[in-house]
C-alpha cells in the first residue's frame, strides 16, 4: 500500500512518541508490578498513584552531571548509548500497528528487523569497551557472546514463521494468520515450538532477566553501563524498555496474529460496515497494543521471579538445547508444509 509522504511522516512521529511514552509507562509498570510482587506499594508519591515517577526520574537524569572516565574513549563512549536508542526506535518502524499503518512496509522487513537486533549488540559492546573499566568490559563481552549465541536460534524460529507465510514481509505474515476463525490460524497454534523458542530468545536478545548477564548488578555492578551517568545512562535505560516493548510487538506480530482482532473474520461478517473503516483501524491498534502489553507484563513478571543464569548455563542452553530444537522445528515445519500443500 502506497502512502503519501506526510502520512508516513505523521505515523513515524506518532510511533516515536508512542514508544518514548510507553517506555515511561513501562518503567512505572515495572516498578508497580514488582512492588505488588514484593508486597510493597511501589512508587506512590509523585503525582496521582505515583504516575509521574518516571518523568521525575527523567528530569533527575537530565540534570545529573555527565561523567566520562578519564581513560575512556569519549567519542565511542557517547556514541554507544545513542546507537542503542536509535536502533531500538528504528525497529518500531517495521511493526504493523493496523492494516496499512506501518512506517516502512518493505518486502524484507523481517530481515531488517533481525539485522537491527544484530547491530544493537554493538551498542552494548562498544559501551563496555569504551568505558575502559574491567567490569564494563566483562559486561560487553558477555553481551556479544550472548547475542551471537541466541541470534541463531532466533533466526531459525523466525525462519519457521517465514516458511509458513512464504513471505519476509511482516504485514503479509500478519495477514497470513487471518485464516481459520481468525484465532486458530495464529502462528502460536500452527508453530508452537517456534513461538516458545522465539520468546526465550527475545528475552536473551533484549538482555532482560534472567538473561541480564551483561548488566548483572550483583556480579558486574551494572556491567556495560557502570561508567555511565546522567542522560547517557538514561538512554541505555530508555533503550532497554523500548527494546523489550518492541520485542513484545514482534512476538505478537509473528505468533499472535499481530493487529488482527480475535475472530476478526467472524466480526466483519457480522458487521460488514466495519471493513476498511477507521473504527476497525482503531480497534486493531488497540488489539496489538493490548497483546503487546500482555507480553511486556510477562517480561516484567519473569524478571522479578527468576534468578539470573550463569554464563556457562547460558551457553549450554543456547547451543546445546535451543539450537538443535530450532533446527528440528524448521525441519518439521518444512515437512508439514510439503505434505499439506
Amino acid at each position: 500500500m502506497d502512502l503519501a509522504w506526510y502520512w508516513t511522516a505523521l505515523i513515524a512521529f506518532a510511533i516515536t512518541n508512542f514508544l518514548l511514552i510507553s517506555a515511561s509507562v513501562l518503567v512505572y509498570a515495572e516498578r508497580k508490578v514488582s512492588g505488588y510482587m514484593q508486597n510493597r506499594p511501589g512508587p506512590n508519591r509523585v503525582g496521582p498513584f505515583g504516575f509521574l515517577q518516571p518523568f521525575a526520574d527523567v528530569v533527575k537524569l537530565v540534570f545529573k552531571e555527565n561523567i566520562v572516565p578519564t581513560l575512556a574513549n569519549p567519542f565511542v563512549h557517547s556514541l554507544a548509548p545513542m546507537m542503542m536508542v536509535v536502533i531500538a526506535m528504528t525497529a518500531g518502524a517495521l511493526i504493523p500497528f493496523a492494516r496499512g499503518v506501518v512506517v516502512a512496509d518493505m518486502d524484507v522487513s523481517i530481515l531488517v528487523l533481525l539485522a537491527l537486533t544484530s547491530i544493537s549488540v554493538y551498542g552494548v559492546t562498544l559501551a563496555g569497551w569504551s568505558s575502559n573499566s574491567k567490569y564494563s568490559l566483562l559486561g560487553g563481552l558477555r553481551s556479544s557472546a550472548q547475542m551471537i549465541s541466541y541470534e541463531l536460534s532466533m533466526g531459525l524460529a523466525v525462519l519457521s514463521v517465514v516458511l509458513i507465510a512464504s513471505s519476509l514481509n511482516m504485514v503479509t505474515i500478519v495477514e497470513d494468520q487471518a485464516g481459520g476463525y481468525g484465532l486458530f490460524a495464529w502462528n502460536v497454534f500452527r508453530n508452537p515450538i517456534g513461538c516458545i523458542l522465539f520468546i526465550v530468545t527475545a528475552f536473551a536478545e533484549t538482555n532482560r532477566a534472567p538473561f541480564d548477564l551483561p548488566e548483572a548488578e550483583q556480579e558486574l555492578v551494572g556491567g556495560y553501563h557502570t561508567e555511565y551517568s546522567g542522560m547517557k545512562f538514561g538512554m541505555f535505560f530508555l533503550a532497554e524498555y523500548v527494546n523489550f516493548f518492541v520485542a513484545s510487538f514482534v512476538i505478537v506480530t509473528l505468533f499472535f496474529g499481530g493487529y488482527l482482532l480475535p475472530f476478526e473474520s467472524v466480526i466483519i461478517a457480522q458487521f460488514p460496515a466495519l471493513a476498511d473503516s477507521y473504527l476497525l483501524m482503531a480497534l486493531q491498534i488497540g488489539t496489538v497494543v493490548i497483546k503487546a502489553g500482555f507480553f511486556a507484563y510477562v517480561f516484567i513478571w519473569v524478571r522479578w521471579t527468576l534468578p539470573r543464569f550463569k554464563y556457562t548455563q547460558l551457553m549450554t542452553l543456547g547451543w546445546k538445547y535451543l539450537l538443535p530444537i530450532a533446527l528440528v522445528n524448521v525441519l518439521l515445519v518444512a515437512l508439514g508444509l510439503a505434505i499439506l500443500h
Partner: protein
C-alpha cells in the same frame, strides 16, 4: 630520620619534639612511634605481595604470555561482598584462575575493647559483631563469663535464651537466603525474607526493647522476662513461618536456574572442611557430623528434641538444604521452648548481687540493693584471679567461642574471640578457584560471612 614512607607520622613526631609547651621530659617520640610506620609498611608489603602473587601465578614467573588474563579487584565496595570483603581475582575470560582475599576493613578491635570494659559493659558490643544474629552473640558472651565466674543461671532464663537464640538463627538464615538469592538475580526473594525478618524484629522489639541490637542477655540470666505480648508474637511466628518457608521451597527447590547455579559449585570434601577449620552449616554440608548443640550441649539443648541436618555432597546446594532444614529444626525447638515456658516459672536472673545485677525492686527500695547495684555497675563480676576458660556455642554461622582470662578484677585480662565468619572465609579462596564470575556471588553467599565478626 630514616626513609619511612609515612610522612604524616614523621611530621607529627617533629611537631611534638619541638613543642615548647611540652612538660614531658622525653620529648623525642620517634622510638616510641616506630611501631606504627613499621606496622603499616608490613601491611603494604603484604598487600603488594598479594597482588604480585595473583599477577605472576604465585611462583614469581611471569605467566600468561598471551595476555588473556585480567586482574579484577572486587570490593571492598561491591554489592555482592556482604559488607566490606575484598577479593582480588585473576580472570581468564570468565574463569577465576586465582583469588586472594583481604579482610580487616571493619576491624574495630573489639577484643582490646573488652579488656577495658567490665564483663557486663562489653555485652552490648557483641551485638555489633555478627549483627545479623545479635542474640546468639549476647548468649555466647554471657555463657563464657558465667563459665569463668561459676555463675548458676536459673532454668527459665536458660530456656528463654535458647528460644531467642533459635529465633536469631532463623533471622540470620533468612538474611543468608534473601541476600544469596538477590545476588543470584532474584530480587523479590530478598524482600520476602525481609518481610519474615520484620516479624522477628517485632518479637525482639517486644521482648528485648530493641529491634536489631537486642542486648537482652545479662550475666546470670536475661534482662526481662517474657510478657504475654511477646509470647503471643513468638507463638504466631512459630505457627506461620513453616508455611511461608514451604512456599519459598516450592518456588526454589524445583527452579532449574537456581539449582543448576548451586549444584557442584564450591565443592569441599569432608577432609577439606576439617582441614580449613570451617564450622557450622558449611561443615555439615560436607557430611561432617558436628554441632555443638548436640555434641557439647549448653543451655538446655539436651532436653529438646531436634535433629542436626547433614548433607554429604559438600557443594553450595548441600549447604542451601542444610540451612533450610536448620530453620525447620529451629521452629521445632522454639515450639518446645514455648511449651516448657508455660509451666516453668521462676526468676530470670541469678539471685546473687555479686554476680548478677539485682532486681529493680531491690535497688529502688533497699539500701543494700542500691549499694549492690552501684558496686555491680562499677566493678561487676570479678572472676577468680588466674581463671581462664573457653566456651563456644553453635551460632547460626558456626562455632562462636570466647576465650577469657581473668586477673581477679572486674575487667577481663584477655578476651579472645573465635568467630565463625573468620574461619569460614578461609575456604573462599579455594572454592573460588576454577569457578566463573557468576559462581563468585553464589560462593560468597554460601559461606555466609558477616564482616563485622570476621574483622572483629
Amino acid at each position: 630520620m630514616d626513609q619511612r614512607p609515612l610522612g604524616v607520622l614523621r611530621k607529627l613526631n617533629l611537631r611534638m619534639t619541638f613543642s615548647p609547651m611540652s612538660i614531658i621530659n622525653n620529648t623525642n617520640f620517634s622510638e616510641t612511634l616506630k611501631f606504627w610506620p613499621r606496622h603499616n609498611e608490613a601491611i603494604y608489603r603484604r598487600l603488594e605481595s598479594k597482588h604480585s602473587w595473583v599477577e605472576n601465578g604465585g611462583d614469581g614467573a611471569a605467566g600468561d604470555p598471551l595476555e588473556n588474563e585480567m586482574i579484577l579487584n572486587i570490593g571492598p565496595q561491591h554489592p555482592a561482598t556482604h559488607g566490606v570483603l575484598r577479593a582480588v581475582v585473576k580472570l581468564d575470560g570468565e574463569t577465576i584462575q586465582g583469588c586472594v582475599l583481604d579482610i580487616g576493613y571493619l576491624h574495630r578491635g573489639v577484643e582490646k575493647i573488652a579488656e577495658n570494659k567490665t564483663y557486663q559493659e562489653f555485652m552490648p558490643y557483641t551485638d555489633r559483631m555478627d549483627y545479623l544474629s545479635p542474640y546468639s552473640n549476647n548468649v555466647a558472651w554471657c555463657l563464657a563469663v558465667e563459665k569463668l565466674a561459676g555463675i548458676e543461671v536459673p532454668d527459665r532464663a536458660q530456656w528463654i535464651r535458647m528460644m531467642m537464640s533459635e529465633i536469631a538463627r532463623i533471622s540470620s538464615h533468612l538474611i543468608w537466603m534473601g541476600v544469596g538469592l538477590m545476588d543470584a538475580g532474584a530480587v523479590s526473594m530478598f524482600l520476602w525474607t525481609f518481610q519474615a525478618r520484620e516479624d522477628i524484629y517485632e518479637i525482639f522489639d517486644e521482648v528485648a526493647g530493641a529491634r536489631l541490637t537486642v542486648s537482652h542477655s545479662r550475666i546470670g540470666g536475661v534482662a526481662t522476662d517474657l510478657n504475654a505480648a511477646g509470647i503471643n508474637l513468638i507463638t504466631k511466628f512459630a505457627a506461620d513461618f513453616p508455611a511461608v518457608l514451604a512456599g519459598w521451597e516450592k518456588l526454589l527447590n524445583r527452579n532449574r536456574i537456581w539449582i543448576d547455579r548451586n549444584v557442584g559449585i564450591g565443592h569441599l570434601s569432608a577432609e577439606d572442611v576439617v582441614r580449613m577449620g570451617m564450622t557450622g552449616p558449611n561443615l555439615r554440608g560436607s557430611g561432617v557430623e558436628h554441632d555443638i548443640r548436640r555434641f557439647e550441649p549448653y543451655l538446655k539443648y539436651n532436653d529438646v528434641d531436634f535433629i542436626i541436618p547433614i548433607r554429604t555432597e559438600g557443594d553450595a546446594l548441600a549447604r542451601y538444604f542444610v540451612r533450610l532444614d536448620e530453620m525447620k529444626e529451629s521452629i521445632k525447638i522454639i515450639n518446645q521452648c514455648l511449651d516448657k515456658l508455660k509451666t516453668l516459672q521462676g526468676p530470670v536472673r541469678a539471685n546473687d548481687a555479686k554476680k548478677s545485677s539485682s532486681s529493680k525492686n531491690e535497688v529502688f527500695y533497699s539500701m543494700e540493693g542500691l549499694i549492690h547495684d552501684f558496686m555491680y555497675t562499677d566493678t561487676g563480676v570479678a572472676p577468680p584471679k588466674g581463671a581462664a576458660s573457653y566456651h563456644a556455642i553453635e551460632a547460626p554461622k558456626g562455632e562462636l567461642g570466647f576465650y577469657l582470662q581473668s586477673d581477679g578484677t572486674g575487667n577481663p585480662w584477655r578476651a579472645r574471640m573465635n568467630s565463625p565468619s573468620f574461619t569460614n572465609l578461609q575456604a573462599l579462596e579455594t572454592m573460588m578457584e576454577g569457578g566463573v564470575m557468576g559462581d563468585m556471588v553464589i560462593l560468597i553467599g554460601t559461606i555466609d560471612p558477616v564482616l563485622g565478626e570476621a574483622d572483629k
